[in-house]
């Protein structure tokens, strides 16, 4: 890729990681990275009166793989909601809640996001996931294979053989080009596929293996920290979507309280789409917000990070998870007209897909809407809470500007509270919250924070040596009072200019070209003797329980044509 030298002049720069808080300064780019000096003929880019920020980092969006594609199949009408014919430089854009991969890539770029992580891949389906990612342009990407219901993990955990588990994790990452450990409803998806049930607490026992979600979480967390993968375990907790589940969520976080983090970080667990796992239970056994309990725990426990999974109401969207029993539950709750796909995967995981529209006039959905923002406002440290909609589960990511307007403006929140079901006023603390996020905090929650949590050293900041991924928004924070003009936030958080690896992708708010993004991946086995010991058992495991051969499992290098290997740093 040819990248020219350039100097972005006059912008109001926010670079929270390097302590730059809205200062007028120049950003210099050469050979695709941020530098401190450029040749005198470097191209000048005028950013005066505009916010200049690092490219956004999406840490949790379902953008590729069999379940995303199944979501498309269930929503044929989605491709009539948004369509743009092909042009000389771009292919056709179609789809809204679950768009085509090409559209997803282009829309994320226009939002100013240059890194997008797919957070739940059934390892057996890795090839499919990577084929779709290859068709998603621009963004750098990575995937989290799921581990929480894998039979081999159960075997290791049951024997408390952490060395073998570490060897298995490193092997799985390498074979499927994974980046981090995803855990979805640990043990629950297994119980659904094989016993038509679920687990209801972290101490329920899987009969055949005699293991509990607690053991699985602890085993994987310990192995992960000892292995030194770039990110902590990424956890979708048990009991998702159930009234009162905040107690299970807190139990989940407490499970790993005493696990020592890898020396490179403070965290040991990331709680994903917290909103879906933050339901309290009132005296009538109905839903209320559990945000205060969860936020208090996060505030007092630096080893925890989380992302929102914010709900967007009155927009048709689609739930899709590796949590088979949760999706069955959602489809039953929505009634006989709900479409439902189930997708169990042999010896590894499960999954399900159900289209949904969260309704503003539905008390349950309205409380769900409130919980996300409420928690985000109650958590004090913006470095440990990331803005997501669990795209498309809570709603399409294209609503991030609106979510940000709710966080930055009490006026915007109050206006919204008036239009949603009044349960929000009694069952959540949202009306009482005065906090308004600053630009700096927003830019932490959307780039600096997630980049740090994901262990991406070249992302989320504009320091020397960082990838030259820059988003420029047409907002002058000195002129526009965000709290009083929330509609401005919503309009102008679509980027005016986006530069990736030193190359213009968006100009004047329009995508002008597309590029192939990097794939971050782990490509490193664990200690030779442990690797060999593990492999001996694993081959037998494959022979017995899989329907494909061991030799056809590893995905070929062609599936990640622009790989960026990330090394692991095991502690001895």
């Amino acid at each position: 890729m040819m990248a020219e030298s350039m100097i972005i002049k006059g912008g109001i720069v926010y670079d929270p990681l390097n302590g730059v808080k809205g200062e007028k300064t120049d950003i210099m780019i050469k050979d695709g990275v941020i530098v401190s000096e450029v040749p005198s003929d470097a191209k000048e880019v005028d950013a005066s009166g505009k916010i200049v920020a690092p490219g956004g980092v999406e840490m949790h969006a379902h953008v590729a793989g069999p379940k995303v594609n199944a979501g498309r199949t269930l929503l044929p009408g989605d491709f009539r909601r948004y369509y743009v014919p092909k042009t000389d430089s771009l292919r056709a854009l179609v789809g809204y809640a679950v768009p085509t991969n090409y559209t997803t890539g282009v829309k994320y770029t226009e939002l100013g996001f240059t890194t997008v992580f797919e957070p739940a891949m059934a390892p057996l389906d890795a090839r499919h996931t990577f084929e779709e990612l290859e068709d998603m342009p621009n963004a750098d990407k990575a995937v989290f294979p799921v581990f929480g219901n894998n039979w081999f993990v159960f075997d290791c955990v049951k024997d408390n053989d952490i060395e073998k588990l570490k060897a298995f994790i490193a092997w799985m990452m390498t074979e499927t080009k994974g980046y981090g450990i995803k855990i979805v409803n640990p043990c629950g998806a297994y119980m659904w596929a094989h016993h038509h049930s679920n687990v209801t607490s972290v101490d329920d026992v899987v009969p055949e293996y005699d293991v509990t979600p607690r053991q699985v979480l602890r085993g994987l967390a310990q192995a992960n920290e000892e292995l030194g993968l770039p990110h902590t375990i990424h956890v979708h907790a048990n009991m998702l979507g159930r009234v009162g589940n905040v107690s299970t969520t807190l139990d989940t976080l407490k499970c790993v309280e005493d696990i020592k983090p890898h020396p490179s970080r403070e965290q040991v667990i990331h709680l994903t789409h917290l909103q879906f796992n933050c339901f309290g239970e009132d005296e009538n056994h109905r839903i209320c917000s559990g945000a205060e309990d969860l936020a208090e725990y996060i505030n007092s426990h630096p080893q925890v990070s989380a992302d929102l999974g914010q709900v967007i109401v009155d927009v048709p969207t689609c739930t899709m998870t590796s949590d088979g029993p949760a999706e069955f539950f959602i489809h039953k709750a929505l009634g006989p007209k709900a479409k439902w796909i189930n997708g169990d995967v042999e010896a590894e995981c499960g999954g399900g897909i159900v289209p949904i529209t969260y309704r503003s006039n539905n008390p349950f959905n309205a409380i769900q809407w409130a919980i996300g923002i409420e928690t985000c406002l109650l958590v004090k440290d913006p470095w440990r809470v990331v803005i997501t909609t669990d795209h498309p589960n809570g709603g399409p990511a294209w609503y991030y500007p609106r979510v940000i307007s709710w966080l930055m403006s009490k006026k915007a929140r109050d206006k919204m509270i008036e239009t949603v079901h009044k349960s929000v006023q009694d069952k959540t603390s949202l009306v009482n919250l005065e906090r308004e996020y600053t630009w700096e905090e927003i830019l932490i929650c959307t780039r600096a924070g997630p980049a740090k949590l994901l262990g991406l050293k070249s992302k989320g900041h504009l320091g020397e040596g960082a990838h030259a991924d820059v988003a420029i928004y047409p907002i002058d924070p000195e002129k526009v009072d965000m709290a009083n003009q929330p509609e401005e936030i919503e309009k102008k958080l679509w980027a005016d200019m986006v530069i990736k690896d030193g190359k213009f992708l968006v100009k004047n708010g329009k995508t002008i070209t597309t590029e192939r993004g990097r794939t971050y991946l782990i490509n490193q086995y664990y200690k030779d003797e442990e690797h060999k010991r593990m492999l001996k058992d694993l081959k037998e495991h494959f022979q017995k329980w899989y329907s494909i051969t061991f030799n056809n499992y590893r995905i070929q290098d062609v599936f990640a044509p622009r790989p960026q290997t990330v090394s692991i740093n095991p502690i001895s």
Binding site: A64, P66, V68, N69, A70, R72, T73, L74, P76, D78, F79, Y83, V84, P85, K86, R91, A92, L93, V94, G95, P99, T100, N101, Y102, L124, D125, A126, R127, H128, E131, E132, D135, A193, H194, H196, E208, F328, H331, A338, K339, W340, I341, N342, G343, D344, V345, E346, A347, I353, V354, K544, W545, Y546, S547, I548, T549, N551, N552, I555, Q556
Partner: protein, 428 residues
């Protein structure tokens, strides 16, 4: 010297068996171990059926000329159709989609004459399914409806379903109950614990009766669709008492009277069974990568088949943009990839194909090459070139190259790439 390739993926049917051992001597396949009869014939006989000669209007031509001609045909047409795709790699299907967008073509795959009703039904109600390994490990009740695995998917029983041993089914066949529902006895039906012979075209009625019984309703008849109600009650009992059941269904259900309504009813029946126990449903897909064709089309256009790009963005209309309808009604040129519509399509569609320019890309000459103005032979995926294919349950596998193809013959993917380059020149 004999070279041995282990764990080769067979690119014939939707089973995509990946344990084939291929022996090659002097660039010729001499032995195929673990193969079924069909697979053996495919691997050992792959060189038969004629020379791979590029033809324009029946005369020998160069590849360059043919590619240029193909591009001209597509660019000059008002309503070109691209069709086939189920017997090639995902990589080639992705290129086909790009080409369709470039020239504003209709694009459709062979599922529009096999499992498209399954896709339509899924759009209506969803589809509770799983990978075949889950069936292997767990299923203790297997219902085959309107399909004949013994002859169409010969290794299905031994690898994935009734005869294989799994985690919860360590005694194999003894741990399972197997039911066949079909309009006639086949080589498969004798292998079940129960066979229900149903009157042709009455699957929907039978399925509705089963749903009624499942809901505890009393039927007012003793016989439904030629099947005794007491047998139906027996099936309902088997379903409810199973730990984990599955329905495999074939073209007997998708292409008989009722079509997508049959499948919608079958899926709804499966959903309702989940109020009692684990129950899933899986289509028996035919061509080795027809599942991939639906899948790739969906992530690129939003729709699994019957797509039109004439307005520069994808639109979907089965019955209008599906190949048979488009060919019979209004298409004025066709590019056929890895398929033989002349051998299989209704008379009107084939008749119009004789009157329009047709380009065929296929490893072998076939009935369509007789009417084709341009025939471009290609490499056979899974034998002479590699590529991705999806098994009937969606599990993606990477097929292998075991012998070198003839000099100068390209893969489908490369040919399509070259055609696109020519199209770009013409459109400039």
């Amino acid at each position: 010297m004999v070279e041995v390739y282990k764990d080769v993926v067979c690119t014939f049917c939707g089973c995509l068996c990946d344990d084939i051992e291929i022996h090659v001597e002097d660039n010729k396949i001499v032995k195929a171990v673990n193969s079924c009869a069909i697979s053996r014939a495919k691997f050992l006989g792959h060189e038969s059926n004629g020379e791979r000669q590029v033809l324009i209007d029946g005369k020998e031509a160069s590849l360059d000329e043919a590619i240029k001609k193909a591009a001209e045909i597509l660019v000059n047409a008002e309503n070109p159709l691209i069709y086939g795709l189920a017997s090639t790699s995902n990589e080639a299907i992705r290129k086909s989609m790009e080409l369709a967008e470039k020239v504003g073509a209709k694009i459709d795959n062979t599922s529009s004459v096999c499992h498209a009703p399954t896709l339509l039904a899924t759009q209506f109600v969803g589809d509770p399914k799983c990978t075949l390994g889950v069936i292997k490990n767990r299923a203790d009740l297997i219902i085959f409806w309107g399909c004949n695995p013994t002859q169409a998917h010969p290794r299905h029983f031994e690898r994935y379903s009734s005869n294989v041993k799994g985690y919860f089914t360590q005694n194999g066949r003894e741990d399972k109950k197997v039911v066949f529902i079909d309009v006639r006895e086949t080589r498969s039906t004798s292998k079940g614990d129960l066979f229900l012979k149903i009157e042709p075209g009455r699957d929907f009625e039978l399925m509705l009766a089963l749903r009624a019984l499942l809901r505890g309703k009393k039927l007012q008849k003793d016989v439904v669709a030629g099947v005794k109600v007491e047998d139906l009650e027996k099936i309902i009992d088997m379903c409810k008492n199973a730990k984990f059941g599955v329905i495999f269904f074939g073209l007997g259900l998708t292409m008989s009277r009722g079509k997508y309504l049959n499948i919608e009813c079958a899926i709804s029946f499966t959903r309702e069974l989940n109020n009692h126990t684990s129950f899933l449903i899986i289509p028996m897909r035919g061509h080795y990568n027809v599942t991939g064709a639906n899948s790739v089309m969906t992530w690129i256009s939003g729709y699994g088949y019957a797509v039109d790009y004439s307005r520069g963005y994808p639109r979907y209309s089965p019955g209008e943009f599906s190949a048979v309808d488009a060919l019979a009604e209004y298409c004025d040129a066709a590019l056929i990839i890895a398929s033989d519509p002349v051998a299989h399509f209704p008379k009107n569609a084939v008749k119009r194909m004789g009157d329009m320019p047709v380009v065929l890309i296929d490893p072998k000459p076939n009935c369509t090459s007789i009417v084709a103005n341009v025939y471009i032979p290609s490499l056979s995926v899974g034998i002479e070139t590699e590529g991705t294919a999806y098994r009937m349950d969606g599990v993606p596998l990477y097929t292998r190259k075991v012998v070198n193809g003839p000099d100068g013959v390209l893969s489908d993917e490369e040919i399509l790439e070259r055609i696109m380059e020519e199209v770009d020149k013409l459109q400039r």
